[in-house]
Symmetry: C2
Subunit: 451 residues, 2 copies
């Protein structure tokens, strides 16, 4: 063909961004489409949610990251539908059509509430920058409300934080709360002692961090308990309300629940009409293309790729590798060469616990404690997209680790965006079995009827 | 009395914050009430709006700023009403009562749309951090839309920015746009040349910066024109629509209008039942107290204090001075000493124009150009509340002035928060007199009907 092939990349996360970068010098025209204007460094999102980092530290405009690639355009638009037969992508409300010769599908994942989507308003997940704002807002507002209330039981409920899901996100989020509240926030309040904050991590399975070897799970479990986090394994949430979490017959009085359990691929995948797995991920071929559509690829959390009998995990390094592999297969096809099979190289797993501990696995190397934390710091600084952010994050960390004075402790945004009206309509725990909880409930009742 | 007097300060802006600081060692119990958890350095808000600074650079949690004052509590709450007779303040929806012995009223101002409050959705003003987000969002989205459109007239409309009001805020906002778009954003886009952006500053009066001497007004006017800003004095907005601004019979096609004209005191003042001026400000006595209520003070933008026949201006230094003066008068009253009259000391006026020019007046000293800009930088760094922000802002400025790569160029938030649905329902300019505008309109029409 005389015209240069058009490659459309849907999504500016790790998969899409690294695919675009790999195509920077290729004889193709690249268009990156995302509904936001920024690439988000998701592995550090929990630090924004706990008011350690500022949002701009972990975001870079996609345009800025790709500004030197003359063959690449960036479009802020929301994809509505893919027409695989006509090879066009429909975007925005006006269904504008964007034709492609190759399409890379990298739309990521969101949290799965296992069929209880109504729980999302009570327990936001941590996927977008907006969700991090919302978690930070609820986290900080809980202390404001605790400081205000005259009722001891209500105060305790505001000082109880429940995190659902013991994967890396849940562990990192839970581990960050105790140091922030016990030191950072303590001098800010007069009537409450933030050191009395209770953090509960609920995991349905038998151990936290199930993707890591058992010894590291246990090391992480111990580290969390040393920080003061109550880790409850084998605890599946059965009901969620604005003022309580039920785990079987037990009921935890809390006003703040964060969700870090389960992933579901972005819903656009369903519109493709190709085979999906139970989490809505596209089942791709060995070269990452769609069955029957060699011109369309799916990478990252939105694709299901099995290797040696195991699903490639939904982590940033896997998305980067797949994005690059899809780009290379496009270049090979353009040159008339045969494609190669994708092979995921496990770069290891890392998770921080609190302020200066971590667990890490790199092949046979297993680390926990301080050394793992330094490794974690090094790897994250290394991979942070965009130089300015790297420097800024390092400085922000250095500053907040030394002083505990978190410059990011700001509540912004309004409730209208976040459907947090749930807080106002707080109802009572219907299944309180312990006597203390019964008392707590009746005290709450009184407060509510006064209101 | 045996119990310590209770001082309630309503508002954590410059007036309230400096009043609280002045009472830090006084034998009183201080409560600072604000509906947000942060103090905002309003004079730099326009730099957040133009994506030069990150929001956290100009905000500090009020709790953090007052954490060392053991006699001071901070309450996140919204005041609903003041009962001057019973000396209580009602807050939040549940009308909780907060009793006081002394009250300092420092609730600030918002923009006035001169009776056309419906214009606010088309032309947001710059008062809160949320409004700065919204202005930044509209500012950045305009280029995204311009990059997307196929229609030349629509593209020009998206690349036209109108700022209403030639006071310091309008001048600083208008002056910041050309450098950001001509250098900072230029390499980000493929289809549009951001250097073709048109910035129009509309001022109803005969000259911009009317509070400054005429020679400095003219210097600012010339500097803005050198930057490429079209300054139109004697231009009062007569109609505002999502796609156009009318000035008398003339019509400017634009999709982005920012409002920097007119102030109105916060509406709570009206509930006091005391004399107000036409802008809703409380007419205070010589000691800053309310007529007939020596225990209540009003300071900052919410108070009208006349000195030597002139109204004390609504600027940060005036609010700081009045806050401190009110606090001192409370301490004198507690000690049984007579009060003193407030006397505003004019510290001078400063306004930046673009990246490295400014105009300044300090008594008889009048400066314009580079020297004034260095002075501006020095003063703003000096007064920035909270050490971390000071350092961070300085670094951010240094970085962005050298590289033009603005780390804050992020579009966040959703339209639901900002009532920007106006954009979607863009209608046409009904009074287009010039032939070009007529063509532009019909082109737009076509685009709209296609949509």
């Amino acid at each position: 063909m005389t015209r240069r092939p058009r490659v459309v990349i849907l999504g500016g996360g790790f998969g899409g961004l690294y695919a675009a970068k790999a195509l920077g010098n290729a004889p193709v025209d690249v268009t990156v489409i995302d509904r936001t204007n920024h690439h988000l460094f998701q592995p550090l999102l929990y630090q924004v949610a706990t008011a350690v980092l500022a949002p701009s530290d972990i975001m870079s405009p996609i345009r800025f990251l790709l500004r030197k690639q003359k063959n690449t355009a960036v479009l802020l638009a929301e994809a509505r539908e893919v027409d695989l037969e006509r090879r066009v992508l429909m975007v925005d409300d006006d269904q504008r059509e964007i034709p492609y010769d190759f399409l890379i599908f990298a739309t990521g994942a969101r949290h799965s509430y296992f069929g209880r989507d109504d729980w999302e308003r009570y327990a936001p997940g941590l996927k977008s920058i907006e969700s991090a704002y919302e978690i930070r807002r609820r986290f900080l507002l809980a202390f404001e409300e605790a400081e205000k209330t005259e009722d001891a039981a209500e105060r305790d409920a505001y000082l109880t934080f429940v995190i659902v899901g013991g994967g890396p996100t849940g562990v990192e989020l839970a581990g960050m709360i105790p140091p922030v509240v016990k030191r950072g926030l303590r001098s800010d309040f007069r009537r409450i002692d933030t050191a009395h904050t209770q953090v509960i991590l609920l995991e349905a399975g038998p151990r936290i961090l199930p993707s890591l070897p058992e010894s590291l799970s246990h090391a992480a479990h111990r580290s969390l308990e040393q920080l003061g986090v109550e880790v409850r394994t084998g605890s599946r949430v059965t009901e969620l309300r604005p003022d309580a979490v039920s785990v079987g017959r037990e009921c935890i009085q809390t006003r703040t629940v964060f969700w870090a359990a389960g992933n579901a691929a972005s819903p656009l995948g369903r519109s493709l009409g190709v085979p999906l797995d139970s989490a809505g991920r596209v089942l791709v071929e060995r070269d990452l293309s769609l069955p029957g559509h060699p011109e369309v690829f799916a990478v990252g959390d939105t694709a299901a790729f099995t290797q040696d009998g195991l699903l490639v995990p939904g982590v940033a390094p896997a998305a980067m590798q797949a994005g690059r592999a899809a780009a290379r297969n496009i270049m090979r096809t353009v040159r008339g060469e045969p494609r190669t099979e994708f092979r995921y190289r496990d770069m290891g797993t890392l998770a921080t616990i609190g302020r200066h501990k971590a667990v890490a696995e790199f092949g046979r190397l297993r680390l926990s404690g301080y050394l793992a934390w330094w490794l974690w710091l090094f790897v994250h600084i290394l991979y942070l997209a965009g130089f300015r952010n790297r420097l800024s994050v390092l400085m922000e960390w250095a500053y907040s680790y030394v002083t505990y004075r978190h410059g990011a402790r700001l509540i912004t945004g309004s409730e209208c965006c976040h459907s947090a009206e749930s807080r106002a309509e707080a109802r009572l725990c219907r299944t309180s079995n312990s006597p203390e909880l019964g008392i707590a409930s009746s005290r709450l009742e009184r407060v509510k009827t006064n209101a």
